[in-house]
């Protein structure tokens, strides 16, 4: 096992966003230079973080990257990650786990927007809240998240799982508006409440354990199953998806 501990240093302009797509376990093998961007300025990892390495390994799946300090504006951590573990003690910025293929990311605080965007594999656990577009795709693409698992222990913002194509998203708290919009596969599970979920879905399964506010008029009620109301839709587009809800309001 190797543990790399990165602790954010205080910054002169702490409001500037940081892009850190090079922070993936694989990049800590050997003594590779790791660069980040703070606004439009290129920085070295050591300019922004104190770095501590314990242990030494040859393969990335045995690497744990631990991030401490105020990382709420650090974006793109874990992008294209294919092995290893990242644990973030505080909050994390946008696009955490973009395009992830394998490995494990855990966020102890809250996550910014686009958590696990266009994910293909691996798993992400967020103990706090996640922002908008959790597990979504990118503008204009026909497919969003294709595989892997995202679990959020509290609430998510709007458009969670937009264009969901494969894999699994599990929200323990509430979702905002339009969770599962344009879904075409995969499973979206919301334990709490949701507003206008699964809009325009064509396939896949969306389960809401709490109350659905403003369910769409184009979902066809198909009976009860295990205490859940089952709907087929979205009829507006000849969709063959399934929406299961506990209650509607």
């Amino acid at each position: 096992m190797m543990q790399v501990t990165l602790t954010m240093k205080p910054r002169i302009k702490p409001f500037l966003p940081i892009e850190a797509e090079m922070i993936v376990p694989m990049n800590f093998i050997g003594s590779r230079d790791i660069f980040l961007y703070e606004g439009n300025k290129k920085r070295r990892l050591e300019d922004l973080f104190t770095i501590r390495k314990d242990g030494n390994v040859n393969s990335p799946e045995k690497i744990l990257v631990m991030m401490k300090g105020d990382t709420s504006r650090v974006k793109r951590v874990g992008e294209y990650m294919s092995s290893g573990t990242i644990i973030i003690e505080g909050d994390i910025g946008m696009h955490c786990g973009n395009f992830m293929r394998d490995g494990y990311i855990e966020i102890l605080g809250n996550a910014g927007g686009w958590l696990g965007r266009e994910m293909r594999g691996g798993s992400i656990l967020c103990n706090g809240n996640a922002g908008d577009y959790c597990g979504s795709g990118y503008r204009g693409e026909k497919r969003g998240m294709r595989g892997g698992k995202i679990e959020v222990m509290q609430n998510v913002g709007d458009y969670c799982g937009e264009y969901l194509t494969g894999g699994e998203i599990h929200i323990h708290g509430d979702a905002g508006m339009f969770a599962g919009a344009e879904m075409r596969g995969g499973t979206l599970c919301i334990d709490g409440d949701a507003r206008i979920p699964a809009a325009n879905m064509s396939k896949g399964t969306c389960i809401v354990g709490g109350t659905v506010h403003e369910i769409l008029p184009s979902f066809e009620y198909a009976g009860e199953e295990n205490g859940m109301r089952v709907y087929h839709g979205d009829v507006a587009n000849k969709g063959k998806g399934e929406l299961k809800v506990k209650k509607i309001s």
């Binding site: 500037l16 439009n40 577009y133 206008i196 809009a199 403003e214 008029p217 587009n237």
Partner: protein, 435 residues
């Protein structure tokens, strides 16, 4: 000595009316004909309000500053900034907008236009499902059914109906006004709902639901739709679908009533998909009611240069687009920027309060011929010639038709924003090359 200038292009709104007549007397605008009150006001009050020259903050007041010193300040600020934002652009000519796009790339900043608080969602929807549209002359000559959804043209685009829709002259009709029907969909009564042949009153936030219901009915699944959808009774929904299917040519127009409420771009997407499906039965088009005279121009220019229509982030030396992240309104809400260049727009008046608070904290340069709410938030204001009055350039109408605005006042003494921006660009580029 009075002069009449004809076929002037009004630089106010997305209608870009080009039949304006302006009367001049001794280099001052004394009369305007054909324009609506918004356009007339733009021309007639122009000279009263202009700043005489650049002004810079001086303690709690202002001091006059030369154009040279003003440019020096801008060059210095933008060259060093870590996250500069260049916002506005919708009143500028495309020639100016093009320099802006190159400037954003040069300084590694973010360029965005008023699109992001107006019809940005329309573009997001178009990026999902495309845009089945046409030029306004097609509508005027052919449309027998017009739908205004979330739009109040009588107040916001006053000449839209007389130039392009309901009241306009039409090749294929003998008596167009009598042969057309206008459906207006809104959450409240407006002057536009008053002239509609059919008014659909929707509960606020319910537009998406109504559109889903219409699509389901169109697909033959009226059985699934409940009796009332967002306050609209099912019989009315069914009637609307029948009207839409039976028309010869239907044209839908939509405004910020649905781009800026509820699902925003999801509303627009739903409307576009409804129109797509209608095209299997008869001819239908859908188009956004763009607000500013050249906001569409900013989308066109930014696209052919950067690849993206607004919210373009060049901080990584490559164009990156992600509305919600790279839109200036969101960047300001998060307080991320450290310098701002505002071109010909008034975010102080239109952005959420937190954005204005954050704008006031950073060095902000405002290019605007007139004082505005943003003046009170900025560090330096630079007046330039007014596009369409003492500067000419290309503007793109709401339907994409490019028209050249006129310069009918000479010798006002103001440099154009194109000239000023070019100087700024050249100086920053030279400094980078010599570094």
């Amino acid at each position: 000595m009075s002069d009449k200038v004809r076929h002037v292009v009004c630089p106010y709104c997305g209608c870009l009316c080009d039949d304006i007549l302006v009367e001049l007397d001794e280099g001052k605008i004394t009369g305007v004909e054909n324009a609506c009150t918004l356009g007339a006001h733009k021309f007639l009050s122009d000279s009263e309000n202009r700043l005489k020259g650049p002004i810079m903050r001086d303690g709690s007041g202002w001091k006059d500053i030369s154009y040279e010193d003003a440019i020096d300040y801008v060059v210095d600020l933008l060259s060093k900034a870590d996250r500069p934002i260049l916002y506005g652009w919708s009143g500028c000519a495309t020639e100016t907008q093009a320099i802006g796009a190159h400037l954003a790339e040069l300084i590694g900043g973010v360029i965005d236009s008023t699109t992001s608080v107006c019809h940005g969602p329309s573009i997001l929807a178009i990026q999902e499902v495309g845009h089945p549209g046409c030029t306004l002359g097609q509508v005027k000559n052919r449309a027998d059914t017009i739908i205004y959804w979330g739009s109040n043209p009588i107040e916001a685009h006053p000449r839209h109906l007389s130039r392009y829709t309901n009241y306009a002259d039409a090749y294929f009709f003998h008596n167009a006004f009598r042969e057309r029907q206008v459906i207006v969909v809104d959450t409240r009564k407006t002057p536009s709902t008053e002239i509609a042949t059919e008014f659909v009153l929707v509960k606020p936030g319910g537009d998406y639901h109504v559109l889903s219901a219409l699509r389901a009915i169109l697909r033959g699944r009226a059985d699934v739709v409940p009796d009332i959808v967002a306050g609209v009774a099912k019989p009315q929904l069914i009637r609307i679908v029948e009207i839409c299917k039976k028309t010869n040519f239907g044209a839908m127009f939509f405004g910020v009533g649905i781009t800026m409420t509820g699902g925003k771009y999801k509303n627009i997407r739903n409307a576009i998909e409804f129109v797509d499906e209608l095209n299997r039965y008869t001819k239908w088009t859908i188009s956004p009611m763009r607000g500013h005279s050249n906001v569409y121009g900013s989308n066109e220019v930014f696209t052919w240069i950067s690849g993206y229509p607004y919210a373009v982030d060049y901080s990584r030396g490559i164009a990156f687009y992600n509305p919600g992240e790279t839109t200036v309104v969101d960047i300001l809400a998060r307080g991320e920027a450290d310098a701002a260049l505002i071109m010909a727009s008034d975010p102080g008046a239109h952005f959420p309060r937190i954005c204005s608070e954050n704008l006031a904290k950073i060095p902000t340069i405002l290019f605007d011929p007139y004082p505005s709410v943003t003046t009170h938030l900025c560090t330096l204001q630079i007046p330039s010639a007014v596009n369409g009055i003492d500067a000419a350039g290309t503007a793109y109408r709401m339907d994409g038709i490019p028209i050249r605005t006129h310069k009918f006042l000479d010798n006002t003494g103001y440099p154009t924003d194109t000239t000023l921006l070019k100087q700024i660009y050249d100086r920053i580029r030279e400094a980078k090359e010599n570094a």
